[in-house]
Symmetry: none
Subunit: 251 residues, 2 copies
Amino acid sequence: MLKQERQSRILEILRMEGKLVATDLSVALGVSEDTVRRDLRELAEAGTLQRVHGGALPRSSVEVDYAARERQASAGKAAVARAAVKLIEDDQVIILDGGSTVLQVVRRLPADLRATVVTHSPRIAIALAEYPRIEVIVIGGILYKTDLLTVGAGTVQAFSSINADLCFQGIWGLHPEVGITYPNFEEVHVKRAMMKSADQVVALASAEKLGTASSFFVAPVSDLTHIVTERTVPEEMLKPYRDLGVSILTG
Amino acid sequence: MLKQERQSRILEILRMEGKLVATDLSVALGVSEDTVRRDLRELAEAGTLQRVHGGALPRSSVEVDYAARERQASAGKAAVARAAVKLIEDDQVIILDGGSTVLQVVRRLPADLRATVVTHSPRIAIALAEYPRIEVIVIGGILYKTDLLTVGAGTVQAFSSINADLCFQGIWGLHPEVGITYPNFEEVHVKRAMMKSADQVVALASAEKLGTASSFFVAPVSDLTHIVTERTVPEEMLKPYRDLGVSILTG
DNA sequence: ACAATACACGCACAAAAACGCAAAGTCAAC
DNA sequence: GTTGACTTTGCGTTTTTGTGCGTGTATTGT
């Protein structure tokens, strides 16, 4: 059986069954488990399914996708979020990006925090609704469905008319020379507007994001005032950022 | 059973039941209590639920409130939603209010509907993200936390600049002489702006809303083009609305 | 205060996955 | 047909992950 043929069979079975078990697939297709695992890895890499220990699950619907990302929120992200919360004080105006790490931050805010929070993520806005003393301002725009946040000219303009104390940015790529990068072009403009509107800009970067770069340039590292990352990151990896005048926090 | 699959099930059960008991889960899922506890711990760490002694609860009071309201979403509301969906055609621009009835409408949209939907409810926006051919436009503003939708001058202005084909309005009070009424003052202005921006205005009124009035006046009944309500409503109650030139649909 | 239950922690075991390597197969050009 | 570069596959080994169990510690209700 050809590799491609086998892989499309795998996807078909996934559609039918709703889940895949690696060992079952091995006997069903008459190939070794190794081959099945390789196939699953490739398909996961291509984004057509979600690999899990023991097999795979569909990745189709946005809801599933997002819920899965939220659930996989690693211990690292949780630690980053806990450390980031310490930067917040009462009576500030805070801009919040979307993303699972930022959501973790929201969930760890002190219950009686008094603040004004501006966000373009409907998900974050709903999470913030629990805090009775936080005034939440939602920035509208065109909804970018994969990340569940708004983008577009209106969004950029709305952020431009704000003067915030603090801005928390989810990070995809953070490289000392290349700068902050992001995989989505539309969002890059929004991110720039958010950063420009705040006195202090905090990057939430779990360990694997450091030293990497993504497709589109957002801003140089020197535009940041803080980077919050994991305790496990070695000092020599952090030094280049410190040299650019950025404070590093770990948690 | 795969770990992620099991955790999804747990979250689903939580959504349905509103609470989780660890020991019950253990037998329901056929795994040891230890595994259940580990799952609950992980989900709590990720912030998707709130761990308590003996089991777990939904994480946020807001979402509980909302979920409760959704759950009690009577057969009536479901019927109203089903009937309302029939008014929608491809390639329209549709304004959606917030509220549980409207959410029911969203959940019943045809999966391949092509449309542009404008809403000021983050909740509705997220629900719409599942539909690949719907362009979702979120209207920003100050978040009104009890109803999870945005209000304020910015919101009103944003709606004013839109020309929609259709507008679905959740209803609190609908009286032939008093008109459409609503319990919240801020939202009244937004509702007016939404209605003014659409050619056709559809009121989603479950049976108990007919003939009642709430605190603040929104618009006269004659501003509506359609009322969707339940089949159980007697004809003599509907007649006054018909006489005002409004089409009545039941489902 | 006390019993019952629920929980966390460490350990052991089994299953699954990743890794490197060599054999088998594929393809194209000569 | 043959050769050589490349891909695909299977196997042994090591590493990681998930699960259950025993023990000791919290928490709860009476």
